[in-house]
């Protein structure tokens, strides 16, 4: 089995048939993590525990009693999910060295099904950012920066590789990079304003944001409780469906999960799209959208049309307010959620001893970066008694309008919306950091944010390579809890576009099987 294999199609079968052992798979992934260390995708690599889990999995396979399709599969988890016994830092000084005593529900579910947890991936501090550049462990590098495809197309050869690398997008950049560089078969991210879909687009992987309330948030350190969801990053849509099936469902520990039973599903191989109605929201032709992506989007619409689907232009008129609305609601929740970090019970505690209050202030100044502190200040401002109606309540009302836009469109007969995921391909790091975090977030979240406002499921499907040789993805947004339909359409699209595999020297060295299946993009 090769590291690039899909779960259902190959790896799981290989494990079951004994063609590859879980320990071998684990070792190869760990070795690859080591040799791709420069990507800075992982904050913590849990080598010992991972090997132990792999050994246990191997025992089960020997006995012919694997726990399921995920048994023995190496996975990675974003470092804002609690993992018992393994450090959880949120890429912040506030939680450096923090070892949680419990597993997030989604982590527990993965472990219960035999998955092998390789480690915790890098992110923007407390998931605040769209570049995975603002964490205390440094920025994550997009594996595509080192791909043959990018190097061939990349401008001035005089620039060294060092300064030319591009960002992963964020905030789940570490998870996206980990999946993209084959160090794991799937990774968990989180998505509050696009934090799973954005890096998925930039790193050329599938990034699924499930419907709010479908997957438990218990143990996910919150950014915005009313918008956060655990995100799923994989190399193909089928794998995303597998992960979804193993994670979704009511959790009594999370009162915002729906009570209804969830039935895991296998994705049908859709051949006939004539009954589908695809909506193209005109407002998603946002300022700053690159002409390349615009063209790609248009081409994708044509693809559906030519295959017999109904493709209509629709309007989501309140889209342009979503960023401002998000800013108010997000910062307000951040101010609230971060209040618990006072150095008293866990995490960083300052040496300042003059008084409790001064200890709090020093702890929080030392523990949080500027981005976090900025959002706390903004949030507190919006929550002041005299401002509450004007900002918070107003934003909630606007949020309702944004959600209603989608309801109206779906009610008019549209099944799925097709939009770009990002405004352009990944920016070089040196260029990205020219603007501050807030500006970047404002720009980058525009295409992904509204789905979080409305709680809808959305998925990035890698579509083609840009002129610079970097991945570009397109986004599908579906109806609430209609993940099966969403993923079915996404899978059909994935098959049509045949996105090329990344050609990475490091991977080549570790896994000779990889390049047997080289495909080229039919889209460029």
């Amino acid at each position: 089995a090769a590291l690039n294999d899909g779960l259902r199609s190959q790896v799981s079968a290989a494990l079951k048939e004994g063609r590859v052992a879980p320990t071998e798979l684990c070792q190869r992934c760990l070795a690859l993590i080591k040799s791709t260390k420069f990507l800075n995708a992982y904050i913590t690599v849990a080598e010992e525990t991972a090997m132990k889990q792999a050994e246990e999995s191997e025992e089960r396979y020997k006995r012919g009693q694997p726990l399921g399709i995920l048994d023995g599969i190496p996975v990675a988890v974003k470092d804002n999910f609690n993992t018992a016994g393994i450090e959880t830092t949120c890429a912040s000084n506030m939680l450096k060295g923090y070892i949680s005593p419990y597993n997030a529900t989604v982590v527990q579910k993965l472990l219960d099904q035999g998955a092998v947890l390789l480690g915790k991936t890098n992110l923007d501090e407390f998931a605040m950012g769209s570049g995975s550049t603002d964490g205390v462990f440094g920025p994550v590098r997009n594996p595509w920066s080192y791909s043959k495809q990018y190097k061939e197309k990349s401008v001035p050869k005089s620039h060294s590789e060092e300064s030319n690398w591009v960002i992963t997008g964020g905030s789940s950049g570490g998870s996206a990079a980990a999946v993209s560089s084959f160090t794991c078969f799937a990774a968990l991210g989180s998505d509050t304003g696009g934090s799973t879909r954005n890096p998925a687009a930039h790193c050329g992987v599938v990034g699924l944001k499930p419907t709010y309330g479908l997957i438990s948030r218990h143990g996910l350190i919150p950014l915005v409780n009313s918008m956060d969801v655990p995100g799923i990053l994989t190399r193909c849509v089928d794998d995303a469906a597998v992960l979804l099936g193993s994670l979704a469902g009511h959790d009594p520990k999370d009162s915002t999960t729906i009570q209804d039973d969830f039935e895991p599903f296998e994705l049908p191989n859709l051949t006939d799209v004539s009954k589908l109605s695809i909506g193209i929201p005109k407002e998603y032709h946002a300022p700053g959208l690159s002409s390349e992506i615009l063209a790609l989007w248009s081409k994708a619409a044509d693809l559906f049309k030519n295959a017999g689907a109904k493709v209509v232009e629709v309007s989501l008129p309140h889209t342009r307010y979503s960023i401002v609305c998000y800013h108010v609601l997000c910062t307000a929740e951040v101010a609230s959620n971060m209040a618990r970090f006072d150095g008293l019970e866990y995490g960083h505690r300052s040496d300042m001893k003059d008084s409790t209050e001064s200890m709090y202030a020093a702890t929080r100044r030392e523990g949080f970066n500027d981005v976090v502190r900025g959002r706390i200040l903004s949030g507190n401002y919006f929550l002041l008694k005299q401002n509450y109606e004007k900002y918070f309540v107003k934003a909630q009302k606007v949020r309702r309008l944004i959600a209603n836009d989608f309801v109206k469109v779906f009610r008019s007969g549209v099944d799925i919306l097709l939009t770009p995921t990002t405004l352009s391909d990944a920016a070089p790091y040196t260029e990205f950091i020219q603007e501050d975090n807030r500006t970047r977030s404002t720009q980058d979240d525009i295409l992904t944010q509204a789905a979080n406002m409305a709680g809808l499921p959305a998925i990035n499907v890698p579509t083609a390579l840009s002129k610079r040789g970097l991945p570009v993805g397109l986004q599908f947004i579906g109806r609430s809890f209609q993940e099966k339909q969403l993923l079915t359409v996404a899978k059909w699209f994935e098959k049509q576009v045949q996105f090329p595999m990344i050609q990475l020297e490091e991977v080549k060295r570790h896994d000779s099987g990889v390049f047997q299946h080289q495909k080229s993009a039919s889209f460029s």
């Binding site: 999910f81 609690n82 959880t88 949120c90 939680l95 949680s100 005593p101 419990y102 997030a104 948030r217 218990h218 143990g219 996910l220 350190i221 919150p222 915005v224 409780n225 009313s226 009594p252 520990k253 999370d254 009162s255 915002t256 009570q259 307000a332 929740e333 101010a335 609230s336 971060m338 209040a339 618990r340 970090f341 006072d342 008293l344 019970e345 866990y346 001893k353 409790t356 209050e357 709090y360 507190n380 929550l383 002041l384 008694k385 509450y388 918070f392």
Partner: protein
């Protein structure tokens, strides 16, 4: 000098009697080792979420119904933010926008005079009842410049009962709180023992001249008993009147009651007014309650609370119990008031009545005058009484059958009080307190006395 009208409102926090806390599964227990009853959620570990405790909701619904409130079929949870060592999350989850119950009323009785011979009934409006989390405890150790934090209490469920400013003095407030306490204990929704912090009362006090708008109010906290509540309020009313009559002004401040000095003092400074930055609690959906009419057909019984079902199962409230005692036993309302005011006394009384042929109207005298005064003298509760209802019943039977005089009965009672395990009959025999019923024996004794006192008898017969 124009008369002053004092105005008193109360905010009462009653700890819910439940096995586990309001939003987490850790245990609720008084005086456990520090930080031994703290779940991950209570400690505010990142990523933990609140899960509503059904029992706490039921307790609040029961209490709301008992206080004649409208139960809100939809209520909401909010976050109230402030930083303090005993508040791990930096916010308290409470119900600020839409609480679980509103617009109720509580009737309570007051004695017109000190002899408890005439009672008057008053009412206070209940503004609302809200569910909220209790905080932990912090102990300031000034010698070592440190604060010790115990989170055992953090997250325990509270019902905050807000009483409108319908009261006018300490006595009324004390009576209202006492009645609330009895109701809570009858319902079992709170054990409401003030000494154990299960019932905490803050008083809002202001004064004004009749016809004029309400004066500036102060909040009085740190009151540890019902007796101190009355004292604190009365002191504060006086203080405000004196201040105003001397041309001063009342600050809208929080004051603590100093029980040693018997006065209220300004609490340590809170610079300016706190803005709690209320925000809806995003992790808890609206709390939906049903009644029989609105209950959906296929609803899982475990998942819902039916207000009507709870209403049907409410026990007799103190006011009802008192009426029943008066009707059943023919005792006075004041008597029945006292019976219910002492924990276990009503049961004791009824037990005695069962055991003896003496009429309840007479038994009540023994209970209220003899038993109760002995208990008070020795600071004992009814449960701790060395004289059981059986023993008292037996004693009263002797009295009723005229086997002893009432004076003798009192003597026997005193002897019983020693708790040496003797029965009334045994004591009577021992101390020869029995009334002689035998005519002949009596004549013999009298004759013997007369015979022994010849001279005195002659003197008497001569006039």
């Amino acid at each position: 000098l124009a008369p002053w009208v004092p105005v008193v409102g109360l905010e009462i926090h009653a700890q819910i009697s439940s096995n586990s806390k309001l939003f987490s599964g850790s245990q609720v227990q008084f005086a456990a080792p520090p930080n031994s009853l703290v779940s991950f959620f209570d400690a505010s570990l990142p990523g933990t979420l609140p899960v509503l405790n059904r029992r706490c909701v039921e307790a609040a619904v029961m209490t709301g119904l008992a206080l004649n409130c409208s139960i809100n079929k939809k209520s909401l949870f909010d976050r109230k933010h402030y930083f303090y060592a005993d508040l791990p999350a930096g916010y308290q989850i409470t119900q600020q926008r839409v609480p679980i119950a509103v617009n109720g009323c509580l009737s309570y009785s007051l004695c017109i005079d000190s002899k408890m011979s005439q009672m008057v009934t008053k009412t206070v409006r209940i503004k609302q009842i809200q569910l909220e989390q209790d905080s932990g405890k912090s102990l300031h150790d000034d010698t070592r410049s440190q604060t010790l934090v115990d989170l055992n209490r953090a997250g325990v469920g509270l019902m905050e009962v807000v009483m409108e400013p319908d009261m006018c003095c300490g006595e009324e407030a004390a009576a209202a709180v006492r009645e609330l306490q009895l109701i809570l204990q009858t319902l079992g929704s709170s054990q409401a023992v003030m000494a154990e912090g299960q019932l905490r009362v803050d008083a809002n006090v202001s004064v004004h001249h009749p016809g004029e708008p309400y004066g500036v109010r102060t909040e009085v906290k740190n009151i540890n008993s019902i007796r101190f509540l009355a004292k604190a309020i009365d002191y504060e009313i006086q203080r405000q009147i004196e201040e105003l009559e001397n041309g001063g002004t009342i600050l809208n401040e929080t004051r603590a009651f100093d029980s040693k000095l018997g006065c209220t003092v300004p609490m340590r400074d809170k610079e300016g007014k706190q803005d709690y930055r209320f925000m809806p609690e995003p992790n808890l959906p609206p709390l939906i309650l049903y009644d029989t009419k609105s209950l959906p057909a296929n609803m899982n019984h475990q998942q819902v609370i039916n207000i009507d079902w709870i209403h049907e199962r409410l026990p007799d409230l103190p006011s009802v119990k008192r009426k029943k005692l008066v009707e059943k036993y023919g005792i006075l309302p004041e008597h029945s008031f006292t019976l219910l005011n002492e924990d276990g006394l009503a049961e004791f009384f009824e037990s005695v009545v069962k055991r003896t042929q003496m009429k309840p109207k007479k038994v009540i005298g023994w209970i209220l005058n003899d038993l109760l005064s002995y208990l008070k003298q020795h600071s004992l509760t009814v449960k701790e009484s060395p004289v059981s209802s059986f023993l008292l019943g037996d004693l009263l039977n002797l009295l009723e059958k005229k086997e002893i005089s009432s004076t003798a009965a009192k003597q026997v009672f005193a002897e019983l009080w020693k708790g040496e395990g003797k029965t009334p009959l045994e004591i009577v025999k021992e101390q020869k307190l029995g009334l002689l019923q035998d005519q002949k024996e009596l004549e013999q004794i009298c004759q013997a006395v007369i015979d022994g006192q010849e001279n005195e008898v002659i003197m008497m017969m001569l006039g």
